[in-house]
């Protein structure tokens, strides 16, 4: 059996839809459609539309942060350059890091989950769709707030880590550090909400038959990441709130003169900051598995090991934060624990890499498509970053290369090689599903190879710069240090990266207009998102499929009957059991609403007001409260209870 021949799950059983499939389709379209016009656009709650907006917005921030990086590369291209003044340079590098971490990397991977998790688990929609809409608006407003402040010369300038006392009340002048701290609040609220939506969808809305051990690996990755978000983000929310309190209310959390401690900040920040890296990285592992499995035309080798590796990575990821603090003079015994943990975390990732190589090795006619190129580059690029990471786990060596360009090289290899490459591969891979059109092959290969070359040209020399003593976060360096030529090389490489991303963008635009029309399963994938049309209808599936194996589209012989009994006049979804996804009850998810937007605007007002006046928190809470009351105002009549009576609906019953 080759996957391309795999029959679709859609059944023509007349019991599915009493009035016929066409009638059912018409009713579902009516029920799930988004209202038209501007109001409709603003009140959108469809996870695909919001996911798409999230992805597009996050990539817009990616472009902005990339342009900031270009400015830095121009400034550093030669010694004693005066292209950027020190004040602007410090803002630019802070904005670059903050944007990449908080406005691109985390939102974009979560957004891929928002779009694809409900499709991959075979659900009609996402859990808590209005909350999801709120999360998008918070993310957008937070990002706009940051950039408006930057254009007003109030951009944060203390680095993306914002260490007090430099960012504290005494040395962090003006509002810059407050802007940074409040941006964190915006993005953390947004991420926590997305994580909630994803966890609920994954645990309670998987289609019947999809027990936990049949979940696609990408869904596993998103589940693991959502839990990581739940545990990591509160640490940074607490610390950024303490920072704001220190700055605005004269508390002394980080003031050593009054019994506080600047290192407390570093512990709290990195307790979030290191898991953050894995929050960016683990979804990419899921994307790798999907791409490699499909292109190899076989299930990914070692499903259980893959899942356990991701979970192990998540757990150990919370135990390595002190390796960011080896130079702060902490006791040595504690440091060795974190060295051991930092080295141990390599094991699960290497097992995954070996698993993928085994998958490729035993492929049935491997298809070297553009997504596969991105996935395969992981083996060459990410592994360099992983190995330099092992070096950084060693306290003696870290104390030499910490805060040098060696570290800059290391984490760009890890984050770009380990996350951005798979992400771009996933964009190409899922582009036909999202848009109904394939991305251009030729331009796709061109932009991949340009990116691969440009990336290595930019970041490989930085290892050498670090070894020759160039520290990070310096706006210039004297000619006598001899760092000029390597820096020039890196700047040229950045130009090549710029070119490659331009080609990627051109490819996206031309493919949107004139790309080859995609059928429902153009790559021959095995998971449920390929079982519906490209792009999917607002209700995702007509009829909702069930599964009987891990690769439902590759095992037509195990085809199981679709779900029946969901009312098509209401936005009904099927809620199933956590472990084995047995049908439990039907649940009506809410439809479009303007309240999420209104609440997000009120929250934004409160957040921004509060960094100028402490009472802004109090006064700003009033409109927020009003909006929440409006949002949760009980609706009358039949829709009074969101949940239908918990009809125990088993597959067998629903079919008979």
């Amino acid at each position: 059996m080759t996957p391309a021949e795999a029959p679709r799950i859609v059944d023509n059983d007349p019991r599915l839809a009493p009035g016929g499939l066409d009638e059912e389709r018409r009713r579902l379209e009516h029920t799930w459609r988004s209202p038209s016009g501007l109001i409709g656009w603003l009140s959108e709650v469809d996870h695909k539309a919001i996911g798409r907006r999230f992805i597009v917005t996050a990539f817009a921030f990616f472009v902005l942060a990339g342009l900031l990086a270009a400015l830095m590369r121009i400034q550093l291209a030669r010694p004693d350059n005066t292209f950027l003044n020190p004040d602007l340079y410090n803002q630019v590098f802070t904005m670059h890091g903050t944007t990449m971490m908080f406005l691109f990397a985390v939102p974009v991977v979560l957004a891929m989950g928002v779009y694809f998790v409900p499709l991959m688990v075979g659900a009609r929609g996402i859990a808590l769709p209005r909350l999801l809409a709120y999360s998008y608006w918070m993310f957008l407003f937070g990002g706009l707030f940051l950039y408006v402040m930057f254009l007003a010369n109030v951009g944060p300038d203390n680095g993306w880590f914002s260490y007090p006392p430099l960012a504290g009340p005494e040395f962090g002048y003006g509002k810059r550090a407050d802007v940074w701290a409040q941006l964190i609040t915006f993005t953390e609220v947004s991420s926590l909400v997305v994580a909630t939506c994803l966890i609920c969808t994954i645990l309670k809305m998987r289609t019947p038959g999809m027990s936990l051990n049949r979940m696609p690996l990408f869904v596993w990755a998103m589940l693991v990441v959502s839990f990581m978000v739940m545990f990591a983000m509160p640490a940074v929310m607490i610390s950024s709130t303490c920072l704001i309190l220190d700055r605005l209310m004269s508390t002394h959390f980080f003031n050593q003169a009054e019994g506080g401690d600047p290192l407390l900040w570093q512990h709290l920040f990195w307790f979030f900051g290191h898991p953050e890296v894995y929050i960016i990285f683990v979804p990419a592992l899921g994307m790798m598995s999907e791409i490699i499995g499909t292109c190899s035309r076989r299930p990914v080798f070692g499903y259980l090991v893959m899942v356990l590796s991701m979970i192990a990575t998540a757990f150990i990821g919370f135990g390595v934060w002190v390796h960011h603090m080896f130079a702060t003079g902490l006791p040595q015994l504690g440091q060795s624990f974190f060295t051991a943990a930092s080295i141990m975390i390599v094991v699960p990732t290497s097992l995954q890499i070996f698993g993928w190589i085994a998958t490729v090795w035993t492929a049935r006619r491997l298809a070297i498509t553009v997504p596969f190129l991105y996935a395969a580059s992981f083996f060459f690029v990410f592994v360099i970053g992983g190995l330099s990471g092992v070096m950084l786990a060693s306290v003696p060596l870290d104390r030499q290369v910490h805060d040098t360009y060696f570290v800059v090289a290391h984490f760009h290899y890890v984050l770009i090689g380990g996350s951005t490459f798979p992400l771009l591969g996933a964009v190409v891979y899922w582009f036909p599903k999202m848009t109904g059109r394939m991305m251009g092959q030729w331009l796709g290969r061109l932009s991949f190879w340009l990116l691969f070359a440009g990336f290595n040209l930019t970041f490989f020399p930085m290892h050498l710069l670090g070894l020759y003593g160039m520290p990070r976060r310096v706006y210039t360096y004297p000619a006598s240090m001899g760092w000029g030529s390597m820096n020039l090389l890196a700047t040229i490489g950045a130009g090549v990266i710029f070119l490659s991303l331009l080609v990627f963008l051109v490819n996206v635009i031309t493919s949107l207009r004139a790309g080859a029309v995609a059928e429902s399963n153009p790559w021959g994938g095995s998971t449920l998102e390929w079982a519906t049309s490209s792009p999917p209808p607002p209700y995702n599936f007509l009829p909702q499929p069930t599964v009987a194996s891990r690769e439902p589209l590759w095992h037509p012989e195990l085809a199981s009957p679709p779900v029946v009994g969901l009312e098509s006049e209401k936005r009904q979804v099927l809620v199933t059991a956590v472990l084995d996804a047995e049908p439990d009850h039907r649940y009506k998810v809410p439809g479009p609403s303007l309240w999420p937007l209104a609440t997000a605007m009120a929250t934004t007002l409160m957040f921004i007001w509060s960094i100028f006046q402490a009472m802004g928190l109090v006064w700003g809470a009033i409109p927020t409260f009003v909006c929440l009351v409006g949002w949760f105002w009980p609706t009358r009549g039949k829709e009074r209870l969101a949940a239908s009576p918990p009809t125990r609906l088993t597959l067998r019953e629903s079919l008979s």
């Binding site: 190899s296 290497s350 190589i357 090795w361 190995l387 092992v390 306290v395 001899g482």
Partner: protein
């Protein structure tokens, strides 16, 4: 590239140990990378033909072996790291030379400890050390977090307000080494460097004795006028010159300014021309540094320069 600040061109025992660790790690990691890359390429070539007859059980064995090898390599690296860490600790000794370094935005205050307070030596941005003797730095900060890093001699340790950190090192080759602040500390973090002069013990003792003496009195009328301007003008608010009434503590001690090789914390060579430029317009070369414009006219500037030149 020059080796002014190179990790892999050590000039002291501590840096040499870390450099050795680096090369061990580098070669192990290079071999691991090559193995993964070659395997991946072979896998892609095979997968493309779809010719592999390997069963999943065989693959499971290969993956297990590869995982085992990874764990072995990681344990090897961990072992090397621990061995190096223990070796670095053996330098601690009670008869080390103690130097207190205090970080300020954006310069280094350096004091050579002595049981008799009046025999302490204070200087800034330039540290002289004897070759072959263990040095213990006591590190403090008056404002934000800085990090003292002299790559040729030892890895960095942060200067954290409210904490006392130690850094142990020993220079084994005489020479001039450059160091730099390695923790982002604000606007002029890039221009917070320092010079370390490692010299034979006799030379060091001579230097220390010379620096213990107060500033020599001016000999010409112009120098005398320069000192008057320094003492009565804004300079004395922040700077100290021992032996005069200038006793400010919030800027580098200038008692022996003439013997130092740089000004502005490693920003410029200490020549008369640069010094004149610095005093005339301190905000031009290092914008944001704490030194305000002095407002001296040309004649006053020349007098101050003439005096500062005598501070050997």
């Amino acid at each position: 590239m020059p080796h002014l600040q190179s990790i892999i061109h050590p000039a002291g025992i501590q840096a040499a140990r870390v450099s050795h660790l680096w090369w061990v790690m580098f070669w192990i990691c290079a071999v691991v990378w090559a193995a993964v890359a070659v395997t991946a390429m072979v896998a892609i070539a095979r997968g493309r033909r779809g010719s592999s007859t390997a069963t999943d059980a065989q693959m499971a064995r290969s993956v297990t072996v590869a995982g085992g090898l990874s764990v072995a390599a990681l344990l090897g690296l961990l072992f090397q790291s621990i061995v190096t860490g223990r070796a670095l600790d053996t330098l601690r000794s009670p008869d080390a030379l103690r130097i207190q370094v205090t970080g300020n935005q954006w310069w280094w205050d350096v004091q050579y400890e002595h049981a008799v307070p009046s025999r302490r030596v204070t200087t800034a941005n330039e540290i002289h050390i004897p070759v072959g003797r263990a040095i213990r730095f006591d590190l403090l900060s008056t404002d934000v977090i800085h990090s003292l890093w002299i790559p040729s001699l030892q890895g960095k340790i942060d200067l954290v307000p409210g904490r006392l950190n130690e850094l142990w090192l020993r220079a084994d080759e005489p020479g001039i080494y450059r160091g730099q602040c390695a923790e982002y500390c604000g606007l002029q973090h890039a221009k917070m460097a320092l010079v370390v002069v490692a010299e034979p013990p006799d030379d060091f003792e001579r230097w220390l004795t010379a620096n213990r003496a107060p500033a020599s009195p001016p000999t010409t009328p112009e120098q005398q006028r320069g000192r008057d301007i320094f003492e009565r003008g804004p300079c004395a608010m922040c700077h100290t010159i021992a032996g005069t009434s200038a006793g400010g503590r919030s800027a580098p001690d200038l008692t022996h300014l003439g013997s130092r090789s740089t000004i502005g914390a490693g920003t410029l060579p200490n020549t008369k021309g640069y010094l004149a430029g610095w005093i005339a317009d301190p905000q031009h070369i290092k914008p944001g540094n704490r030194m305000p414009p002095t407002g001296l006219n040309g004649e006053e500037l020349q007098a101050v320069l003439a005096y500062l030149e005598t501070l050997k």
